[in-house]
Amino acid sequence: MTGIVLRLLSAIPTLFGVVLVTFLITRVLPGDPAVFFASNPSMTTQDIEAVRQSLGLDKPLPEQFLIYLGGLLHGDLGNSLSTGQKVVTEFANRLPASAELTFLAFFIAIGVSLPLGIAAALRPGSLIDHLSRVIATLGVSMPTFVTGLLLIFFFYFVLGVAPEPIGRLDPFMFEPDRVTGLYTIDALIAGDLELFAAALKQMILPAVTMALFALAPLTRMARASMLEVLGSEFIRTARASGLSRRKIIMTYAFRNALLPIVTTMGMTFSYMLGANVLVERVFSWPGVGAFAVDSIINLDYAPLQGFMLVMAGIFIVVNLTTDVVVALIDPRASR
């Protein structure tokens, strides 16, 4: 228990560092946000100066940082210059879109990679072992934006089974009443199965694209970890004692192999959050990643800052969760 508390406390300096780096990076970005407003030709130098003052950009850097920190503590991430909305509002609208997609992709990846990795470990050198290696290496070699385009071409243009890649829902459908922000869940809550199917259909291609990329680390770790456990002495003892193959694999081997797999899952999940930038772009998905890229291109500080902060925050939370889960699965790890 003290181990978990200590682990929680150890995240604080990292979190502070993340805030500091985010602040500094967006300050060295070229492009004065005040000049952004000045693209309106009627604005004079005095007006620009006024805008700069209202944004607090005339103050020295340390003071700007304190103001920024103060805003953060009140849950204020600033305003997006290009949409004119509060960054927090933009995120509240977009984060569920990214989260829904990432979760689905994550579950697809786990559902495929664990059985594949375990099967490969049970028969090393067999056809399935080679197949798992090729799939895993191919998966990590596919640029997500190319995989996405290939999937669109085959399933939308050639076969016509997938919907047009234009976001979360067909434009003729109404989005469900907002409860969680996840369309599939909200559609289920509203009891609208047709809407659920439509939302799921839009998600399948982008989710598969992301899942393909996550397959590699998970399959590799599942295989390596299973192989190691299967070679250990307690498995030999279990075999010698005449336990059924099923019981040995599922109860004894898998449970002991789970530890490094869970750690890899945590890493993969946070990695997917960063990688979905490209997938969202290809599928016109209205998520936070696409928003962050647009902000970078428009030299819009605040949303970029918010994105990096939220992603790094999620990364830290996922790492903490992984550590806690690992400690719960295996008490030896928390010592």
């Binding site: 560092g17 070229p30 290696r133 071409f153 960063g274 291109i297």
Partner: protein, 286 residues
Amino acid sequence: MSASAMRERIQVVRHVVLGNPLNIVAFGLFLLILLVAILAPSLVPHDPLKTNPAHTLQGPSAEFWFGTDQLGRDIFARVMIATRLDLMIAFGAVTLSCLVGSIIGAMIGYWGGFWDGAVSRMVDVLMAFPLFVLALAMVAALGNTVANVVYATAVVNLPFYIRLARNEMRVRRGLGYVEAARVGGSGDWRILTRFLIPNMAAPLVIQASVNLGWAVLNAAGLSFLGLGVRAPTPEWGIMVAEGARFISSGQWWVAVFPGLALLIAVFVFNLMGDALRDILDPRMRT
């Protein structure tokens, strides 16, 4: 390295290369890619930059193997020419981060103390960011050039090398042979350069070779989003981005061929990384 150790190493190489047919394919393709990167300008049948309004968006044919794009340029020529630029970005970035990262990591690992703590904290912070977006922001901040893509890719990879070199160093600096060298009168510098760094080379080279594929993907991803390399320069990421809008209307070849080139290059690099790992460090074989 003694003659018998050399013979043993060669046997391992032979075992790894011949033991897995995939490795032979990987080595062959790797050579082919290198050849294309070097010879492409004298191999391509058409000028990769020459536009031709008479043949826009034509499918693959005997004249244009990979078809033509929206400006009538030959996609085959563009894909081939792009190889050199994409490889140079990746090799440049990986070399830079491997060199700088392992020097920093080796130093903080060897001497420890304040800098070890400070740099390790910074590495933790850097690793908490979504790396691709960090690279994106850096290219936007430094300016939209190819050199900045190399620097940005190198910086986001630094933490891995720093961490690896530091941990290797911490494990090794207490080992017997280091003690022996110190007793024998070697100074810090000599111990570092003669004994420790050569022994750390294998894991670093493995990391670098695994990293190469990722660096290609990262650079192509940046230019796909319109950062870094600029049109009309032939580069795989840009070409895929340009072809993306024709995918939904069926002109698949504009995006698919550069995409496949990218995929094959990264796939080959990853296979090579695996093979190299098997050769250099059989214990890490998975």
